[in-house]
Amino acid sequence: MSDYNIIGKRMPRVDSRAKVMGKVRYSADIKLHGMLVGKIKRSPYAHARILSIDTSKAENLPGVKAVVTGKDTEGVKWGVFGYTRDQQFIQTDKARYIGDEVAGVAAVDEDTALKALDLIQVEYEQLPAVFEPMDAMASDSELIHEDFPNNINIHVNIDTGEVDENFKKAHYIREDTFTAPEESYFQAEPYAVVARFDEDECLEVWCPNGGPHMKSKPLSNSFKLPLHKVKIKKIAIGGAFGGRSEICPADYICALLAKKTSAPVKIIFTREENTIATRQGHAMITTHKTGVDKEGRVLARDTTCYMDGGAYSSTGPIATTVPFLSMEQAYRMESVRYNGYRVYTNKPIRGMIRVHGRGFACGLDTQLDMIAEHLGIDPVEMRLRNSRQPGEYTNTKSLVSSCAMDETIHKAVEKSGFKEKWGKLPPFHGIGIGTNSVQTGFPMGIRGGSQSFIKFNEDGEATVMTGVVDNGQGNDNMVVQIAAQELGLLPEDIHLVSADTETTSSDPGSYSQVSTFVGGQAVKNAASNCKKKLFDVAAKVLKVEPDTLKAENRLIFVKDDPEKSIPIKKVVRISLLNFNSVNAEGGYWPKVDMKREWVSNPYGQMCEAFSFGTTIVEVKVDPDTGEVEVLEVTASQDVGKALNPLVLEGQFEGSIAMGGQGGMLTEYHEWHEGRCVNPTMLDYKLPLACDMPKINNIIVESIEPKGPYGAKEAGMSIAMSAAQGYSAAVSNAIGVHMDSFPLTPDKILTAIKNKKQQDTAK
């Protein structure tokens, strides 16, 4: 596989030079002539009917250029799916959470815009609000959305049959319930959007996005503009983690203000707005009932999960399913039944997040550890007996082609010294293992594929056009790396045009771990097609057959006789002199089951590849304070093929910080009557440099036959398994299997005290 001179190398990212110089522009950095400041008026009530809105005072304030309310909209409801269209971009009838959009203003400066917000008078009639899914389902007061009885937004039911029969055959059965509250993305960049209508009445928008084409469609619907007149522009993005994937009401409000004022408008969210008015992770209550045979193999599992979805659907059907998918991909089960309920509450909207379902996943692994303990099996063996193997089908009928789950386990076990440490560590010192699997992509219908264009310039350099967006994870570099490798150029020879709806084709976006697999593959195919054209010309010059040629370092040469070569630049010029430009297109459409649907038909090929990850964590717990010191984390993932180990390690390490250190120890939201008590960076506890442990990265390559160079997804199954590894390690240290996450010192101390009392009682 060392056939590559660029792929697989530790290549520093192409975007990092501009970033370390402070030159890169993010949405908030944009300045346009005559630009106005936009602000959004939000509901201070969790559930309230809007009786009237008086904007006259605000409109009369000097410096205010426009005020918009629901009246300016067509009352159109938006939703990711046809059956989830439940959200207006500005509310007309009622507000459903504290932060819901009720009006927008544009003014000459921020001070004026803020004053104007205060002058907008909204008359509300407060309605009874519900803040917990169980309360919401039982509530007999006004529904949050009238078409959804019991406030149940989505119900996903998966049943592969024979669950009850298999429970009867089981040697040992456990049923346990696990809970975890909401968490948040806390992207370093607070949400910001700039919009203007250009001289051709095209709408131009700059904003963080998980895929520009996912933004243009709803905007084109709302403004009744053809798609080509909505231009989502390329812009640097400061983190996403799943929280930038959909249209944001602010995009629409900003565009509406721009339309009304005929001026560019910029809206920048406060940190609090970014927390409450973009997306959050779902709080979940998960019950796993598992039956195993004598060897610990899972015969039957019945899982029920209640998710607090907040006020609107968002990606509800996907969100309700994904925790289940990770489970069925990572572990074999003879039979399984799943009931996932996403329930509306009067809280901020919940979306997909990097560790989606920490309580679900950690609960699953905790229960496996409990079963293992009962059977006298160690946690590693327990996982190996249930781990996914290549060539198998998941319960919902997805073929898993490449899979090195076992190798990730073995390598992490060896590196961490798990076997030597398990059961032999001093008191309050623990080690734990977590394993998980993440899907590379979802069935996305007409938006499931990606297409790329490449054109050569006369100087022998190439322009690559792709819809792939970089949220900060390094997708721009990934695309350049692939194009350079394939075309035989150097990375600096590639000019990238990406994530811009005007110039690039549709792409599934960067939120289903699919950028490399689909978008990267499309670029590879386009480059390969382009290379063929170069080879045809070069072959004639070199008087050889095209298939004897290879391109590398700006040269095309004969594989078996490298002295026989011609510069690519020269090939391009020869081609042009012969009336042929050098360009090509290429695409990739994953062969998924298009009939698979999240709710109506949750069976069939989900995606083409799955990643597998193992994280082993070693901790020391202070028995007097319940504080956790993480000594070492070993992360091992089957990524298919590491295109760039430098970038990949960064994904592992960031995953451990977010999924493990933050997600399992400190991060959660606290509420007071629908208000998010900790929306800020002071009160929401993100991990700091001084608190992060030593990390060992292990890259496992299974070479996925369908992936570009064998690549799959990078880092997500570490984020998930890190959460599981952290919780397992803490449980091991204190001798109590924890069922409420994250594992904050107060919970740990209580568990230690209760155990002490029980032990004394015995």
Partner: protein, 165 residues
């Protein structure tokens, strides 16, 4: 509100400016001088994305009044490189993969640069402490700490240190 005339010395250059008393240094840098390298991420002095240097010390510009910055030598991320020539620290950030989304990077660089100007060979703990006021959501900090440790001091055992001949 009445604007006041002040002079700020930024990246070695005196700049005459008209500001309001309630303008923060961050707002003036970004909005008046178009030095948008410094970022506003939390706006309350926690995340460190707005960190600049005043007289060589890292300072949060979101909690510094522009008025209060008079008479100090201000350095921003835009002033780290010498023209097109990056500082060792900047180059090290690139080489070690310490940059992901890039929002925390400018502040991180300014804190680290201040540390390196005071401490020649900071150990891991010292670096982590010096960066404890700069929050990064992407990297897990490992590569940032490595980049600071190896800035201008290539380590043979490090696969990412450029050993330029």
């Amino acid at each position: 509100m009445e604007k006041l005339q002040i002079t700020l010395n930024i990246n070695g250059k005196d700049q005459a400016l008209l500001v309001q008393p309630n303008d923060t240094l961050l707002e003036v840098l970004r909005d008046e001088l178009d030095l948008t390298g410094s970022k506003e991420s939390c706006s309350e002095g926690i995340c460190g994305s707005c960190t600049i240097q005043m007289d060589g010390k890292p300072v949060r510009s979101c909690l510094t009044l522009a008025m209060e910055a008079q008479g100090t030598k201000i350095k921003t991320v835009e002033g780290l490189a010498n023209g097109d020539e990056l500082s060792n620290l900047q180059q090290s950030f690139i080489d070690h993969g310490a940059v992901q989304c890039g929002i925390c990077t400018p502040g991180m660089l300014m804190s680290a640069d201040a540390l390196l100007s005071e401490t020649l060979n900071p150990d891991d703990t010292t670096i982590r402490q010096a960066l404890s006021g700069n929050i990064c959501r992407c990297t897990g900090y490992s590569k940032i700490v490595e980049a600071v440790a190896h800035a201008g001091k290539p380590e043979k055992s490090c696969p990412d240190c450029q050993t330029k001949e």
